[in-house]
């Protein structure tokens, strides 16, 4: 199956439709919530939460013996939440910095989870196979009820975001100030963190513990490059996340052996790369172009100013001068001279140049402007 076939099949084929819808919704909700994590400088929180969820999955399996995803994800949710609040506790109660707390909980929970997983694998239980799909995710196992679950959580998340938009915004920007205005910042904080945990847990089946944080961060980091408005950023992150889901699924479904989670993450990374390079205001490319253009303008202005100084000493401002004189001035190049001719500021005759009236006028204006800025 190639990609074209995929897109013609996606509307008719039940399995493909389910998986695509699932990854798209997942991408949208993690992108949305990821924006908040990125802006709170809690980018690594997602990584810690997803790793912290692993022992929950194993314990849920050990306790129930069941393999249906809802039971296991409930376990993931509980241990993810425990991990998150331990991280908060460590940060507030000790002198440890947040990166230390995150790393500590991440490795501790993940290690414990791996221990339990290997223990489970040694058990004579036919059900045990497939638990390791939560490590790297397996989108192919998504069924309709999983997608419904994602859709419902995303819906609730949207409603909460819209209702508490103003509160979220002020908490993100200036927490202390929000407190003085009478907002219970702890409640807002817990609300938003809980939703991040929920979204991560929902994605474990599809993307897996190890790569889940990329779903949270990549769309948000890409979206930040394109806008200076929080609402637009959240919206764009959701779009980028959803597109990553759709294209990731398309590519992995059309290339037989590629697993979906990593492909989705790679697509999201492409969004990030393109955004970093090509965004008009913050992108590297346009920044560099602006930088070079500014330098050129400055060079041109300096050369013109130098000529102006020479011309000023003569009664006739268009009195011709040897080009050689300009060699004393470091900023001068053949290119700048040509540009000045193009702009009709200078005329060339043999080895001499002379300033035109227009050039003289604009040079003196340049001067006045500079002086004005100094005031």
């Amino acid at each position: 199956m190639n990609i074209q076939e995929y897109f013609s099949l996606v509307f008719s084929d039940y399995t493909l439709r389910t998986i695509t819808l699932g990854t798209a919704i997942l991408g949208a909700v993690t992108g949305m919530l990821g924006s908040f994590a990125v802006l709170r400088k809690q980018s690594l929180l997602g990584d810690a939460i997803s790793h912290a969820a692993l022992p929950g999955i194993a314990i849920a399996f050990l306790m129930t013996g069941a393999k249906d995803s809802n039971t296991l994800l409930l376990g993931a949710l509980v241990s993810g939440l425990i991990g998150t609040f331990w991280i908060r506790g460590i940060i507030t109660k000790t002198h440890l910095k947040s990166d230390t707390a995150l790393g500590l909980i991440l490795s501790l929970f993940f290690g414990f989870g791996m221990l339990l997983l290997t223990h489970i694998q040694k058990q004579p239980n036919a059900n045990q196979a497939g638990l390791d799909k939560y490590l790297f995710g397996q989108a192919a196992t998504l069924v309709e009820s999983d997608v419904w679950m994602m859709a419902i959580v995303t819906g609730i998340c949207l409603i909460v975001l819209l209702l508490f938009w103003k509160e979220f915004k002020i908490l993100l920007f200036d927490k202390d100030y929000a407190k003085t205005l009478g907002f219970n910042t702890k409640t807002i904080d817990i609300l938003i963190t809980s939703f991040i945990v929920l979204a991560i847990v929902l994605g474990l089946q599809t993307v897996g513990v190890v790569l889940m944080s990329a779903m949270l961060l990549a769309p948000a980091a890409a979206a930040r490059q394109w806008t200076n408005s929080l609402a637009t950023m959240v919206f764009l992150a959701a779009i980028f996340g959803a597109l990553s889901g759709v294209f990731g699924t398309a590519i992995s479904a059309s290339q037989n052996n590629l697993s979906t989670g990593p492909v989705i993450v790679l697509i999201a990374a492409v969004f990030v790369f393109v955004s970093f390079v090509f965004s008009p205001s913050r992108g590297l490319l346009f920044k560099q172009i602006r930088f070079i253009k500014n330098r050129r303008d400055l060079e041109l202005h300096k050369t013109l100013a130098f000529m102006y100084h020479i011309a000023e000493t003569h009664d006739d401002i268009s009195h011709p001068h040897e080009i050689k004189i300009l060699n004393n001035f470091q900023g001068f190049t053949r290119g700048t001279l040509k540009k000045l001719v193009e702009k009709n500021y200078v005329t060339l005759q043999g080895t001499t140049w002379s300033l035109t009236h227009e050039g003289f006028k604009s040079a003196s204006n340049l001067y006045n402007q500079l002086n004005k800025n100094d005031e």
Partner: protein
């Protein structure tokens, strides 16, 4: 007799074992423009944050016009230190000033035309109206400070707390800000400012509190702003020449 705007009793605050503020008693009369001065680590910002309920004190109490801060929130506005927020946050100048209206709006309710109008007026007052749609990271340090000031003005409070509003601003902005503060005092408001530049205290303020973990002195600038109190506060033999 003038009313007491802010009253602090036996306030003690500690982050760990060492107290940052020790047994502070302070009465701030209504309508003064007061500087809080003291060396680094003297607890100036901590005092403001404790009064505003951002920090929880170990002991002591604070009242605003005789009642607890929680009940009098709407009478108080706060200008935090400029460095306390991330100015690369994706939002505009107008949007930040609008945040000043969030308190009176309360939970869930969105700002509307009325709030926007108030925010625009505040921007006008601090001379930042032409920059209303500017992304905040593209503002200079002085402009960012004015935005913070405008956000507090929108709150239309009776008491203003400001944490180093003159930090890192140029002379033009400093004059603009102090003029606004003086206008607030003229309108009968109480303004409390954490201040670092001792030279300008007599010129800008009419009331001063010396703080170094303990309260050293508080009162009218003309009575207590002297070498004796400065030496007690800063620990070295401090001499300023007060120009009359």
């Amino acid at each position: 007799m003038t009313k007491i705007a802010v009253q602090v009793d036996d306030l003690t605050v500690a982050y760990n074992y060492k107290p940052v503020l020790w047994d502070i008693d302070l009465e701030i009369p209504e309508g003064v423009l007061m500087a809080i001065v003291g060396p680094n680590g003297a607890g100036k910002s901590t005092l403001i944050k404790s009064i505003l309920g951002i920090l929880k004190p170990i002991a002591g109490s604070v009242t605003i016009y005789g009642k607890s801060y929680e009940k009098q929130r709407s009478l108080v506005a706060y200008v935090p230190q400029k460095g306390s927020v991330d100015w690369d946050f994706p939002t505009t100048a107008l949007d930040v000033v609008m945040m000043g209206t969030y308190g009176s709006l309360g939970w869930i309710k969105r700002p509307r035309q009325k709030e926007k109008k108030a925010a625009l007026e505040a921007l006008e007052k601090v001379g930042m109206l032409p920059f209303k749609n500017r992304q905040i990271s593209q503002l200079s340090g002085g402009q960012q400070q004015r935005i913070f000031l405008a956000r507090a003005l929108v709150q239309d409070a009776s008491i203003y707390f400001m944490d180093e509003p003159f930090q890192g601003v140029d002379a033009t902005t400093e004059i603009a800000i102090i003029n606004i503060l003086k206008e607030l005092r003229k309108a009968g408001k109480t303004v409390i400012v954490v201040h670092h530049d001792l030279q300008t205290v007599p010129e800008y303020f009419d009331w001063v509190t010396f703080l170094n973990v303990k309260k050293i002195a508080t009162g009218p600038v003309k009575d207590i702003f002297n070498d004796d109190n400065l030496t007690k506060t800063y620990g070295i033999n401090y001499k300023v020449s007060i120009q009359e």
